[in-house]
Symmetry: C2
């Protein structure tokens, strides 16, 4: 069912482990040999530990490795399958492998110490590419072009590879660890930053986050995963599902949790309180819904003209299966009747410095519609909600901007007006490109509810060197539209729209109007000989939804002062190899 995109090299790593170990070992040893010949790095010098084992494991392979490296270089243009025929190198010893796993956890006294900031400055080929793993600092500038996973290595440039290797398990071999250690240039000076909060600080109870999440803001915590990882899973893994917090994360004890329900307007019993157990005893409903931040892709809009807001890339979105009680069941049991003039206000347990909660509202018509699929969710992809995602209860309002999907939900009010919260009234609204902070009147615009159609290219990433395979490149991404509108088509072009290619879609078989999940897509795009001669290739993606709404071409005419609704064509410039 799932169409999973991997570069041909990394696909081979997964599908055919044995030849890849060979190939990596070959490269590893070869690279080490190369550097020894250069004499430039000095990282084959004496070390404080395991010299013998290191020698047995690494130096033993140098001769064959150097030969292999040259062979690989010669055969780079040939299909990868042919490299399987190369000589098998000496088998590595099991003990040596166990020892290799300790290297990056050990400080090497023969090497200098660098700070996180030192490493961060080496985040692109021009500056040199450094990465860290455990306590080790590594210069992989020269290795990067030969990385079997291609430019995915750049995701970690200037940063830790730990979270990536936790996902790409093929790195956890002695050969790869040997190769890495051969690039070692120093030790990381890890400071236990931000763990020094007083217990009374509102930030003292923040949860531990996955290292893959790149923060756009640390307090409140806001972070997105690397976009190329995002496109690999139809259901975004919970641990690196983007996080959008407006305030400190509250700590709610399940046994003390209470959800207040009030009916201020219209028929219905005026109030009741639901415990977590009572919510869980209601019929369980699961809906697949992508949740997207109103500011997703803001960093692209900012390039036209600065906007106010967190500088999100295209990763402030995730797709998950949410399970919980249906809000329409809860409201109907309370005696609430359809009335299109009414609203449903949600409040969270997260409080601002004046003790006001985060709040938002949606029309009652959405809340009461069984096809609206609004759920009081306690599970995300079949796991209990994590604290960052609203434990114990988050309201999921499918098809609607993330800001209305209130986390740590503690109060629901049926009433005749929208939420008066900052986030409903003075934020998350769209304006004309000519509206500025002097002329803006937030009361004149509608609070964002359903989101417009959008798409993004997940792989390749900008500046990535992309291999042309028999005249084609493979491009992969996501597309989504709000309001339950299914994605009808994703078109791609590499020639500024002279020719368009229709992507293959991966989406759930859910009726339109209730199609709240995203679609992943894959396209093989032909590249001409002429294009291969150019230094760059720009790929554009545009999605069309079931109402045949289409993304606007550029940010210029949809720019708005808050940088929301940034849904222009996604354009990624790559280099062909």
């Amino acid at each position: 069912m799932r169409l999973r995109f991997l570069t041909s090299a990394s696909r081979q790593l997964r599908l055919s482990n044995q030849p890849c170990r060979h190939r990596l070992l070959g490269t590893s040893a070869a690279q080490a040999g190369q550097q020894q010949q250069d004499g430039s790095k000095g990282n084959q010098n004496s070390r404080a530990f395991n010299t013998t084992l290191y020698g047995a494991g690494t130096l033993g392979g140098i001769g064959a490795g150097y030969w292999l490296f040259n062979e690989l270089d010669k055969k780079r243009q040939q299909p990868l399958e042919q490299t399987k025929q190369l000589t098998t190198p000496p088998a590595a010893e099991l003990d040596a492998e166990a020892e290799a796993r300790l290297w990056h956890k050990t400080k090497r006294s023969d090497l200098p110490t660098y700070s996180v900031e030192d490493v961060l400055r080496h985040d692109k080929p021009e500056n040199g590419i450094w990465v860290t793993y455990g306590l080790g600092v590594y210069d992989v500038t020269e290795f990067a072009p030969n990385h079997p996973g291609g430019d995915k290595i750049l995701m970690a440039a200037g940063n830790a590879i730990d979270p990536f290797w936790a996902i790409y398990q093929q790195h956890n071999t002695q050969e790869v660890l040997q190769l890495l250690e051969s690039f070692r240039i120093g030790n990381l000076n890890k400071v236990a930053a931000e763990d020094d909060d007083e217990l009374s600080s509102p930030w003292a109870q923040e949860p531990k986050r996955h290292d893959l999440l790149k923060p756009t803001s640390k307090r409140p915590f806001n972070a997105e995963p690397p976009i190329s990882l995002l496109g690999e899973h139809f259901y975004t893994p919970n641990e690196y599902f983007y996080v959008r917090n407006h305030l400190p994360v509250p700590t709610l004890k399940p046994e003390e949790y209470e959800l207040e329900l009030e009916v201020e307007s219209g028929p219905g019993q005026p109030s009741r309180t639901l415990s977590l157990d009572e919510i869980k005893k209601l019929p369980k409903h699961t809906v697949t819904a992508a949740i997207m931040c109103g500011g997703n892709r803001r960093s692209e809009m900012t390039r036209i003209k600065p906007v106010k807001g967190l500088s999100w890339g295209a990763g402030a979105v995730g797709n998950a299966k949410w399970s919980g009680a249906r809000l329409c069941d809860v409201l109907q049991a309370q005696g609430v009747k359809p009335d299109e003039r009414l609203h449903v206000i949600f409040e969270g347990a997260d409080l601002d410095p004046t003790a006001h909660p985060y709040g938002a509202s949606i029309p009652l018509s959405k809340a009461l519609d069984p096809r609206g699929d609004v759920v009081l969710a306690y599970e995300m992809n079949e796991q209990p909600l994590s604290r960052d995602h609203g434990y114990p209860i988050r309201v999921i309002v499918p098809g609607t901007v993330g800001a209305r999907n209130v986390k740590w939900l503690t109060r629901i009010v049926v009433t005749d007006h929208e939420s008066d919260s900052h986030w409903q009234q003075n934020d998350y609204k769209g304006f004309s490109p000519s509206t500025d902070w002097d002329t803006v009147d937030f009361s004149k615009a509608q609070a964002i509810q359903a989101m417009p159609v959008t798409s993004a290219i997940c792989t390749p990433i900008p500046e990535e060197r992309v291999k042309v395979d028999k005249g084609y490149i493979t491009v992969r991404g996501y597309a989504w539209s709000g309001g339950g509108r299914r994605i009808e088509r994703v078109d791609l072009t590499t020639d500024g729209g002279k020719s368009w290619h229709v992507a293959q879609l991966e989406q759930e078989n859910v009726p339109d109007g209730r199609h709240y999940g995203w679609s992943l897509w894959t396209a093989r795009l032909p590249v001409s000989d002429e294009q291969q001669k150019q230094p760059n290739l720009e790929i554009w993606a545009k999605a069309v939804d079931s109402a045949y709404n289409v993304q606007p071409e550029a940010f210029e005419h949809i720019w708005n002062l808050r940088g929301v609704l940034a849904n222009a064509y996604h354009k990624v410039k790559v280099r062909l190899i």
Copy 2:
């Protein structure tokens, strides 16, 4: 409530009749005098009727008229109010007015005879501007720049003014008739074309249409009104609501009319038949809905690259109040239950040459949703449906492309598949710009249901000379989005998007999600001194709907081989005066 746009001159005509009569008479007589001095038209020569009266009415005014004309010419740059001070001309006699009403109905033997085609060739200033009224042919080339209603006169260029004067009643005065007769150059050779059908022809029973409707195809009849008229009425007058017929118009007798209802799939009684009376006895529901042809604005898309289809302007849309029985009531009474896998097929009484009816379908979820507002309509703007609009019953599917709003409805089927009609399966679908007739596979695209957001500028029209009023011009148009999405904003620019101006909206106060009517809008746009020096000014309009979907900028990247979904920015080039 209604914001009605009129040019300042025509507004004055309506609001202040007396001074305008003076002004028109002044112009009339002046114009006649001017032409007599030129000696070029020869239309002050002897005529076969009413010479005396004509002389009394027209020639009597020449002296004062000529003076007035010069005065007007001198004062053209002054505000119109100042012209009210001009000398009052001689009062016209009542008898003379009655006689004047006969002139255009009478053949003048002193003048040549022209065909409709002769007139049609004189449709723009470069070719001379001719119009007809009754039997008269008139050359208004020199008068057009002084027309108090501005370039609205160009709507009738090369054509009959009869339908326009039926609307703009201020023309029905002796003075105006005198002025017109002074431009007479001939008699119209009216051929009773197309009335010669055999009674057995399927076209023999076509209804009489309003002359304002400009046909894009005569058989089947397809026609739209002039767009500048369209923007004048929030509820489009029935008589010039656009007509989209796919086949000959059937003749249905109300007493014999039967609507078959079949439930092929899902629960429900298998079939029943409803008479017109039975439908009218059901609760009457009224919904305001704009109906738009899938090919509206196709003529703009065609300029990029030819497409197949009728060359519609931006007038293949209209907004009306539709009244009838709710389809959800009829289906529920039949025992039909919600099931998102099912469809509702509609068939009309209009038959193709193989006796197959026009057909289309919609999802059952739309048909059963009370907020979907699908009605079996027998009234349009509180009048019985006309034959061209589906008498006696048309299904109105608000928010959905016109093609699913089946006219002359005779059969409804609840079933597990879409209609297999040509119009559902092989037409009214969108494709990528690179899909051509060699590669198209209609089974791969979704039938259009909800339409994307769009807008159009109704006034000024292209090439119109627009008066700058204290540094501003006034622009007016419509905007609409499918699926019940309210129009949130309409932005206008006159400098290619460097600055945008937000229009004032006129729309019904109906909740979003169920906002099926269109919005009219008006904007006052500043024009700079620099812009006033340029020969042209291009105005762009773009609408944003409640899901913050926005129109695409240009047709290039939304082009499709059927020319449907033509919703790019509307761009109109005008001349400033």
